[in-house]
């Protein structure tokens, strides 16, 4: 609030009067100076989106309910599977709960904040992406903050509950190691899934009707992440173990956390490398995005 008042006072002086350089930004507008000012555009849009989603209480409650239901059905699927077997890929049900919870919580949060990137083809078809070019922020940041899907909170709650139950029943030792590994895995998992959305959005510039194809990887990736990677075939381990590092979002940290035997090609120490997997995903996602933007602007590439 104080910084707002200060900038208001500054506005009454001519911006060129601050003594240093005589660059008069045209009349009212000038680049933001503080972090708060830099974040203001994104905050304004997000706050408004969040408000409008909660405006109709019944509809919002229904949205939350249906979103929770989807999460519960997927959890039930795992439970049904385990009512027939006692262990899968060297894991018992409560251990799988840990994998499921970790992956689903990270994915739901990424979906909440990045999921609407899959509406990019609509912008491209309607020609409304151009409006983003006319605003002084990076295109990708504008798109990410153009919406937020609050109803996904319900699904995140299902994931969090599964994770909680898994943590309590799977025999996790509560020490400093766990206190580092768990948040690290959660944050990296979130970033990895988020990058997957960016990657998919970058490809939309070329595919236009390719959301189906990229969704196969995004939602296929989420599904893979909730499974024990030890049951995967080798090609699958390459694709969802390393190229799209889904095994890093939940399975590998769980193996490390519980000290379980690790499968071929996926040694247990990889459970500590979740930030590297996130960084790799973002590198791939951003390259893809840049490539897509260049294609859109027709600058070659």
């Amino acid at each position: 609030m104080a910084s707002r008042a200060a900038s208001a006072a500054a506005a009454d002086n001519d911006p060129a009067d601050n003594g240093t350089v005589a660059i008069a930004w045209p009349r009212e507008t000038r680049p933001p100076e503080t972090l708060g000012e830099r974040l203001r555009p994104y905050r304004a849009v997000l706050a408004s989106r969040a408000r409008s989603q909660r405006a109709y209480r019944t509809s919002f409650a229904l949205d939350l309910g249906s979103s929770a239901l989807v999460g519960l059905v997927e959890l039930a699927e795992v439970w049904v599977l385990f009512s027939n077997v006692t262990a899968l890929g060297g894991m018992r049900f409560n251990q799988i709960l840990l994998v499921f919870g970790l992956a689903d919580l990270a994915f739901s949060l990424a979906d909440l904040s990045f999921g609407h990137l899959d509406t990019l083809p609509d912008f491209l078809r309607a020609g409304t992406l151009d409006a983003f070019y006319l605003r002084p922020q990076p295109i990708l940041l504008q798109l990410i903050t153009s919406d937020v899907s609050l109803r996904r909170l319900a699904r995140a709650a299902v994931g969090a509950a599964a994770l909680g139950i898994g943590l309590v029943t799977a025999g996790v030792t509560w020490d400093a190691r766990t206190a580092v590994l768990l948040p690290l895995a959660l944050v990296s998992g979130y970033a990895t899934f988020a990058a997957l959305y960016v990657w998919a959005a970058g490809l939309q510039f070329f595919l236009l009707d390719g959301a189906e194809m990229t969704n196969a990887f995004v939602y296929g990736g989420r599904y893979a992440a909730t499974q024990p990677a030890s049951v995967w075939s080798r090609p699958l381990k390459l694709v969802f173990g390393f190229f799209f590092p889904m095994a890093f979002t939940a399975y590998l940290p769980t193996v490390t956390l519980l000290g379980l035997p690790a499968p071929d090609w996926l040694p247990a120490w990889l459970g500590w490398c979740t930030p590297a997997a996130a960084a790799w995903s973002w590198l791939m996602g951003l390259l893809c995005w840049r490539w897509g933007l260049r294609h859109y602007q027709g600058g070659g590439g």
Binding site: A8, P26, T29, R40, P41, A44, S48, Y133
Partner: protein, 327 residues
């Protein structure tokens, strides 16, 4: 960096294009071919000018605008907008340029107009004081007061266009680009919008560049006209010059009290056609040589006139003539 900043301050041109060219690879059935949308455009526009950028559909107007604002990368040539290179300096340029696309909304369709303004003020880092001042100014001049709390999707076309214009001008850009701002508007809405733009230019020295199919927009708003045809600049000059070059005529349509034979021998007017056995007659005249009032006086001397309309020269027709003349 420094040179770009210096020229942004104001001694340079607001738009400076040199050999600006844009090609598209298009699929034509099974074959691919190269389409040149803008072909070697060289033009310089000074601060404060009001320029009409006219041409037929597909002549290259929108492609030019996209290159000026950093949306499209030119295939060849060079362009500076507000002294900045549009693509690499896009974000700095966005603070100095406002663009209105007549057919594509830049507002949030489900948000009230006022909330859209609030978000745009945040996007352009307006201080609360500047935001309040500018919003009040635009609300008053564009008469937005009645529908500020209405979601954009519920606005009439005329209301929405006024809101779009306000949104594009909220950050007081030095250059305002309007892509067919009056398309589909009724006469009154067109008139209001034109008056606002004239006032904005007078008050703030804003440079206007507008594409339009409406000769009225050009006549009332622009002191310079660029005609583009097949991507090439076919005319650069003022409106009288354009009419001279194109030989475009205005048409006076009169409804008479009684049917008359064709009014052929009138001074300065040429009979085009008659309808309803001579009750309605169409008379072409050259706006350079005479006025609608003089032609009307000549008609009134021969008949009792009940009603009249003046038809402007069709812009497509003007462009066609210009293009034929420039070849």
């Amino acid at each position: 960096m420094t040179s770009a900043m210096n020229s942004a301050v104001g001694n340079g041109a607001i738009i400076e294009a040199d050999g600006l060219t844009r090609e598209f690879r298009v699929r034509d059935g099974k074959r691919r071919r190269l389409l040149t949308a803008v072909d070697g455009l060289t033009v310089r526009i000074e601060p404060g000018e009001a320029v009409g950028y006219i041409g037929a559909n597909g002549a290259g107007k929108s492609t030019t605008i996209k290159m000026l604002t950093g949306i499209l990368v030119p295939t060849a040539g060079r362009v500076l907008t507000c002294g900045l290179r549009p693509v690499p300096d896009r974000r700095r340029l966005a603070r100095q340029v406002g663009v209105v696309f007549g057919q594509r909304s830049q507002l949030w369709w489900d948000l009230p107009v006022r909330e859209s303004f609030r978000i745009l003020a945040a996007i352009h880092s307006l201080t609360p004081a500047a935001e309040a001042r500018r919003t009040a100014e635009l609300i008053e001049q564009l008469e937005l007061g009645d529908f500020l709390s209405v979601p954009v999707r519920q606005l009439s076309l005329g209301q929405r266009m006024r809101a779009e214009v306000a949104a594009a001008l909220l950050h007081s850009p030095r250059l305002v680009i309007l892509d067919e701002p009056t398309i589909g508007l009724d006469v009154l809405s067109k008139q209001r919008l034109r008056e606002f733009l004239i006032g904005e230019r007078r008050l703030h020295g804003t440079t206007l560049l507008l594409t339009t199919h409406d000769m009225g927009d050009v006549e009332r708003l622009c002191d310079r006209i660029l005609v583009i045809d097949h991507g090439r600049l076919a005319y650069d000059g003022d409106l009288p010059g354009l009419s001279r070059t194109a030989g475009a005529e205005r048409v006076l349509v009169v409804d008479l009290a009684e049917p008359l034979p064709d009014l052929t021998g009138l001074d300065g007017a040429r009979h085009l056609s008659s309808e309803a056995g001579g009750l309605r007659q169409r008379l072409a005249f050259d706006a350079e040589q005479t006025t609608a009032a003089k032609v009307l006086a000549a008609v009134s001397a021969e008949a009792h006139v009940l009603d009249l309309t003046v038809e402007e020269p069709d812009i497509e027709d003007v462009v066609r003539r210009i293009y034929a003349a420039s070849r």
